[in-house]
Amino acid sequence: MSEPDVIKPEMMRSYIWLQTADGSIQQVEQEVAIFCPLICHEIHAGMGSSKTYPISLPARVNPVTLSLILDYCRFHQVPGRSNKERKSFDEKFIRMDTNRLCELTSAADSLQLKPLVDLTSRALARMIEGKTPEEIRETFHIPDDLTEEEKLEPLKNITDDPRIRLLNRLYARKRKELKEKEKLKNVEVEAEHVDDRSVDELLSFINGENGVKTVKNKKKNRRRKDQQKNAPESNGISSVGHDDRVKGHCLPNINELLKLQDSEDDRFGLEDEFDDCDIGDGIDPEIKEQIDREVEDFARRLNSDWPERVQELLSLGQERRPSLYTVNGNGCSARRSSSTGVEKHEK
C-alpha cells in the first residue's frame, strides 16, 4: 500500500481520492474503497493518493451511486460482522426505487464488486418475477418496440399465422368495399375511370407498389389476382408464402425483424410505401387520400383489437348463440367405462 502524499497528522487513517465522470472529486477512507476490486487495482497501480491524481471511476458511477456503494463497502469491509447482520443490512440496503437500483447494479458491475452485483441483480429479478410484460415495461420505463406479430406467441410459425389469414380476409372485404365506393363515385364522375381503377390497382396501391410503370403493375396484378382466388380459402398459406412482395412489405418475417436495429412502428409496414406514389399515376388524389386514411385506420384497428376480429371471423360462418340458455342438454346415453371417475390410484 502506498503512503498518501499529504499526510493529515490528526487522522490515523489513510484516504484516497476518487473522481466521478461529472468531474467531482471526493475523499474516501482507503480501507473502504479497496473493497471494490477496480479501485483496489488502481491503488496498487499508484493512483488515487492525492487530489491531483484521483482515480477516475467508470462513467456508470455517478456521485449518488458512489455514495451508496461506499456505504455498502463501509459496512461489509468490517470483518467481525455475523452473517445475520450482513443479511439484515443487505435487505434494508436494497430498498430503493427502480431507477436507482438499476443505476446501482450497473455501477457495481463497472467496479467489479461482485457481491453487490449479485445482491442488486437478485433484487431486480424479484421485481420482474410475477409481472406481465406490460408491467415490466412500466417498472423499468422500457419502450415497447416489438410489433404485434412478434408479440404473438414467439414460437409461432409465421406461415401458419392466423393474423395473416385474417389479413387476407379483411383485404378481400376492403377491396370489395372500395370497389363498391368506386362504382358509386364513378357514376357521377367519368364512366371510363372504372376500367382504369381496377381492384388490382387499388390493391397494389394499398400494398405500396409504385404505380408509375403500368406494365409492371399489370404483371404483378395478374399474379395477385390468381392468388386472390386462393386467399379466402382456409389454406391461406400459399398466398403468403409465394408472394414475396406481400411478405416483404406488409408481413415481415420474424427473423428479419429481429435483425433490425431500429425500433419499428407498431403497425404493419403499410404506410411507409405511400411516399412512393406519384400524382401522375392516374388515381384521383382525393380518393387516394381517402384510401390512405382508410387503410391507415384499418391497420391500426387490426393491430389493436385483433381478438375481437377473430370473434368476428368466427361469426362469419356460424350462427350466434342467443339460444344457448334455452337448449336442453344434448343427453348422451350412459357409457360403460372401466373407471369410476377422474382419479386414479396413482401412487
Binding site: 447494479t105 420505463h141 415497447d144 392466423p162 356460424q318 337448449v327 367405462s337 369410476t340 377422474v342
Partner: protein, 590 residues
Amino acid sequence: MAYSFPEEVLEHVFSFISSEKDRNAVSLVCKSWYEMERWCRRRIFVGNCYAVNPKIMIRRFPEVKSIELKGKPHFADFNLVPEGWGGYVYPWIVEIARGYPCLEEIRLKRMVVTDESLELISKSFKNFKVLVLSSCEGFSTDGLAAIAANCRNLRVLELRECEVEDLSGHWLSHFPDSCTSLESLNIACLLSEVSFSALERLVARSPNLKTLRLNRNVPLEKLSTLLQLAPQLVEFGTGVYSAEIRSDVYASLTEAFSGCKNLKGLSGFWEVIPAYLPAFYSVCSRLTTLNLSYATAQSPELTKIVSQCHNLQRLLVCLDAYLYPIQVLDYIEDTGLNALALSCKDLQELRVFPSDPFVADANVLLTEQGLVSVSEGCPKLQSVLYFCRQMSNSALITIANNRPNLTCFRLCILEPRAPDYVTFEPLDAGFGAIVENCKQLRRLSMSGLLTDRVFEHIGTHGKKLDMLSVAFAGESDLGLHHVLSGCDSLRKLEIRDCPFGDKALLANASKLETMRSLWMSSCGVSFGACKLLGEKMPGLNVEVIDERENLDSLHESCPVEKLYIYRTVAGQRWGSNKVLKKALLVKESD
C-alpha cells in the same frame, strides 16, 4: 432503463429468473430483452409435445440444457386414450440430438419411448446427466442398458410408474465400473428381478447417491446391506417389506436404518409384515415424506408411525377400510387419520387411497370424517387427494372454512353421482364453498352428484383454477359455458360422461386458444361441431378419437366418443401420418 445497462448485467439478472412464465414475460418486454433471453434460456418445458415443433424451438433457443416434454393427456391414465394415438418421443430426440449436442437433462411424461430413442439419447449427448421417465411406455431393459453403458456422467435415472418390458435384470451391469456419478436411481416400477450383485456394486461405488428406490423384487433381508453401503441416502424406497420373521434380520435392518442420518423420505413397502415396521422408527422424526400407498392390509401400526413423524410434510397412504373413521354406536373411532391431525402439524400434502375400492361391504364405510379432522388439525395442508364412499355438503364447507389455503383439492367419491349422504342433495354447495374460500386453488377434481350450479360457482370464484377434472356431472351446456367463460386461468380441462354439447364449446371457441388442452369423452359434442372448430380455429388441433368402424360416414350431428383439442403452433399433427384435413380422425383399430 433510459441509460445504458450492459447486456452481461441484464443477463445476470435473468439468471435469477427461472420460472417458465416469468421467462416468457421477459422475452416479450422489448426486442433487446427478447434476444438476450433466448440466448440464455437453459430450461424448456413443453406441456404438449404436439403444440410445438422442435425445429422452431431449437431455432429460437439455441443453448438449452434441459428439456421436459409431456405427451398424452392425463386421461390416458384411465385407458381412455387408444393405443397408437401418439406421444412418440423419437422424432423429438432426432431433432434435439442435432440441435442440442450439449443437452444434459431430459424429462418425459406420458410418452411412448422406444429402445431406439433411448439408444439415440445415450449416444447423442456427451454430457448427458439426467433422465426421468414418468408414466412412459414402449421400451425395454435393453434401452436402459444402452443408457447405463453410454452415459458416462449419468447422475439421475428415474423410472416412475413406467411400463417396461423386462428382458433381463442384467442391464444394471452395463454401468461401467468407472461410473461413480450416480445421485438418483429409481427402478421401483420394474417388475422382474435385477441382478443384486450388480446393484450392490453400483451403490457401493456411488458416493453421491441420494435417492434409491428399489423394485419389489429386492428382498427385505438385503435392505440392510444396501443401507449400510449408502448411509448418506436422503430418499429410500424399499422392495417388498415382508420376510420370515427373524430377529437377526430385524436387528440388522434396525441398525442400518438408524445409520441413515440424512434420510427424509421413505417409500416402497409392498406387502408389509407389521412386525418389521418398527425397524425404521428411528428415522420417523426426520421424515418429511412417507409413501405407504402400496402397503396393503395395514394395521393400527399406521397410527404408531404417524404419531412419531412430527416433521411429516407429505403422506401417501392406502387405508384399509378399518382405518377410516367409522361411526360405532355414537362415537367416532380413533384412527390413523386422527393421529395424523394431532401429530403432523407441518403436513402439506395428503393422498388417501382405498385398498379395495370395489368392496361393497355394507359394514365398511369410507367416510369424510378423516379428511375433516386433518383439515382442522393441519394448518399447512395445501394439497389433497382423497377417496371415500360418502361425503356431505357440510363436511366440504367445514373443510373449506378450515383450509382456505388449499391449492389442490381432488375428491373421489367412489359411487358416481352420489349425493350428500345426509340431505340427499347435490354437492354443489360443498364444492362451491371450496372454490369460494380457497382463493389460491389451482387444481380441482370433483365427484358426486353435481348440477350446473357447481359450475356457476366455479366460473364465478375459480379465478386461479388451472386444471379442472369433471365426471358424471352437470345438466346442460350452461355448466360448461360457466367454466369456459369464467375461469380466467384455466389451462387444462378434462371432462367425461357429462351432458355437454356443441353450444358452449362453439360459443367459447376463442377461449380454447388460451388453454393448453381440452378433453371431452362420452359427452354430447357432435362431429359437425368438431369439424367446424377445426376449420375456424387455425391455432387449434381438433382430434376426434372414435372406436366405430365407419368414421368416414359419420353424420354431422352424431356425437363423437372422444374429443381432444389443444392449441398448437406446429400446425397439423406433426409426426403423424393419419392427418385428414383439420379434424384428425383416429380409428382405434389402426
